[in-house]
């Protein structure tokens, strides 16, 4: 009985963890190429879910067509945000960058609220909601979708960063932006790519989680922060470490909510976040000066 419960919580924790991992990788990609923590990251997650609903509802597109449209619009939003808010900044000090990304985040949230209202809505699951029994626990088909899509995205990411010219150029920027510029890499374009990739990943995360947890104009704050927490556990790596970070966070949260108290579920992520920042700011697995990307 007890074991079945733990298995159940672990399984559902893994799928939320996968979402945190996707969002966290989005944070890391931007951080590594620009040194910016994009406080608006969570809003792309919100946009993904809300735009899919919008394309399916008022525009009556089927799910399979609504999803790419939503990802596309979110990605464009990310590009616009970088091009017209981040890049023209005359004094890109950390404080100004924090303030402008927070400003962008509440602007997007506010616009979403005006456009689509305050109601919490849910997407239909991608393939039914017949529970699947695993051992003594059950999971939903959507959980499998989440894990599968996350795996595919991480694989594509890996291919991109290690086997394409522009991916390698982005890694070069992450190591040393100045040197990357000196060997002829267009650093500005790489910065724009990083915003593009991470807003697209955020949007996908928002779409695949929406059938499980519902979505609303304000889901971006919490999801964004937890994604950041995953990235911090992983030492701001955009690879396996952040994925593991996300999964650890998801499982701990799910176990904590199920076995201890559901009210404090959200606090768990932030306590972990503070502990890691205080004790191991380089991440759980990192050496003090570890490889990032």
């Amino acid at each position: 009985m007890q074991f079945d419960q733990i298995l159940q919580y672990t399984l559902s924790g893994l799928s939320t963890g996968a979402i945190y991992a996707l969002i966290g990788i989005g944070f890391s990609i931007i951080y590594n190429s620009t040194g910016i923590i994009n406080f608006a990251q969570g809003e792309f997650v919100m946009l993904g879910g809300m735009l899919t609903l919008f394309f399916m509802g008022p525009l009556k597109l089927p799910l399979w067509a609504a999803i790419p449209c939503a990802v596309l619009i979110s990605t464009l939003t990310g590009i616009v945000f970088e091009r017209f808010a981040i890049r023209p900044l005359r004094q890109p000090t950390p404080i100004n960058l924090v303030i402008i990304t927070i400003g962008g985040s509440i602007l997007m949230r506010g616009l979403a609220m005006l456009l689509w209202g305050k109601d919490t809505q849910s997407l239909p699951p991608f393939s039914g909601d017949e529970p699947i029994a695993i051992g003594g626990a059950t999971i939903l088909p959507q959980h499998i979708w989440i894990l599968g899509i996350t795996l595919v995205i991480i694989a594509i990411n890996k291919l991109y960063f290690y086997h394409t010219i522009s991916g390698k150029a982005m890694r070069a920027c992450a190591y040393n932006r100045r040197a990357a510029g000196l060997v002829g890499i267009d650093v500005r374009r790489m910065v724009m790519f990083s915003f593009m990739i991470s807003s697209a990943m955020g949007a996908v995360a928002g779409i695949i989680v929406a059938p499980l947890t519902m979505t609303a104009y304000d889901v971006g704050v919490m999801l964004g922060l937890k994604g950041f927490c995953a990235a911090i556990i992983g030492g701001m790596s955009s690879g396996a470490a952040t994925v593991v970070g996300g999964l650890i966070l998801g499982v701990l949260e799910s176990l904590g909510a199920g076995l201890v108290s559901s009210g404090y579920k959200d606090a768990i992520a932030f306590i972990i976040l503070l502990l890691i920042l205080f004790i191991r700011p380089q991440g759980l697995f990192g050496k003090a000066d570890s490889e990032r990307v």
Binding site: R90, V98, I106, G110
Partner: protein
């Protein structure tokens, strides 16, 4: 020095005379909140504008002050005037202790850590239902009294709050011009250089963090006693962002700027009452626009515009 004193006197006259212009009425009630927000904005500005250390968790310290005062007076019947400084002291000490690990972090990481801290405090307000009443709030907090006078009308509260606010403004202006203020600005510009010059950057940052939290707690206590009802919704992340917006709009490192920022942002929603939901959009747009086009805030930006367009001869750089 004389110029500073003059500025303060002008401020004092405006503040004391303002109620005459609004004989009672709803706006007077709003002005009470302007006073509380001014205190909070100054507290945050001491940290952000002078020392250059961001905090996205100040709503949490504000809430701690409010709840400490609320619980000790409403539930346990303690004297409000005793609880208020006690709460400020407790919150100050708490911030001092948290400050050691938190202020080791810089920039983005500091922002995230203080944000996390604020949200944890907010969750505790919501979950400790026995103590705080949880999401439905805590009511029955007594009004303050001095020598038989109970502060139960908007006008009385106005003078009560603004007396505190004026003292805070006066102290903050003096602090900013003191040795400590110069040390803080040095840390803001370059922490390493400040340390080389013999400023103990680590301790002084923690001290200003604690002071800032204590002022926020005081504002929280006053808020609890004027509202007589508090609920966690007033102390969430959105309010921390609102405070940040006040400080940024007014101008980082300008005490009177924080006053203008608080006036503007507190009155704005009142004028947008029909279009209620627009305020969040406007905060976002304002924050972005200020950082992009007027990074010095209104107190520096407006004189700069004035110099550029109206007075082409443009001498003097309009520092506030």
């Amino acid at each position: 020095m004389k110029k500073e004193l003059l500025k303060f006197l002008v401020f004092l006259v405006i503040v004391m005379a303002a109620p005459l212009a609004f004989k009672g009425g709803y706006l007077l009630n709003v002005l009470v909140f302007v006073g509380i927000n001014t205190m909070l904005a100054i507290a945050l500005n001491l940290l952000l504008g002078y020392a250059g250390q961001i905090s996205l968790g100040h709503a949490g310290f504000f809430g701690l002050g409010a709840y400490l005062s609320g619980i000790m007076t409403a539930t346990y019947g303690w004297n409000p005037w005793l609880v208020m400084p006690l709460a400020a002291l407790i919150v100050g000490i708490l911030a001092f202790m948290i400050g050691f690990p938190v202020l080791k972090l810089k920039g983005h990481y500091l922002a995230m850590a203080t944000l996390g801290l604020g949200i944890i405090i907010y969750i505790v307000f919501n979950e400790t239902v026995d103590l705080t009443g949880g999401p439905s709030g805590l009511s029955g907090i007594p009004n303050l009294t001095i020598a038989g006078t109970t502060f139960d009308t908007d006008l009385k509260n106005y003078y009560l709050i603004w007396s505190f606010t004026s003292v805070i403004v006066f102290l903050a202006v003096n602090l900013a011009r003191s040795r400590v203020g110069r040390a803080l600005r040095a840390i803001h510009d370059s922490e390493v250089a400040a340390q080389v010059l013999g400023v103990n950057a680590r301790i002084i940052k923690i001290q200003i963090f604690a002071l800032s939290a204590a002022i926020s707690s005081l504002a929280g206590s006053l808020y609890a006693h004027t509202m007589t009802f508090i609920s966690p919704a007033s102390f969430g992340f959105n309010f921390s962002v609102e405070l940040l917006t006040m400080v940024v709009i007014g101008g980082l490192g300008s005490i009177y700027g924080s006053f203008f920022g608080a006036v503007l942002l507190t009155l704005l929603p009142e004028f947008l009452r029909e279009a209620q939901d627009y305020d969040i959009v406007i905060y976002g747009a304002l924050l972005m626009a200020m950082v992009m086009f007027m990074p010095g805030g209104l107190v520096r930006g407006i004189p700069a515009l004035f110099n550029r367009f109206i007075k082409p001869a443009g001498k003097g750089n309009g520092h506030a």
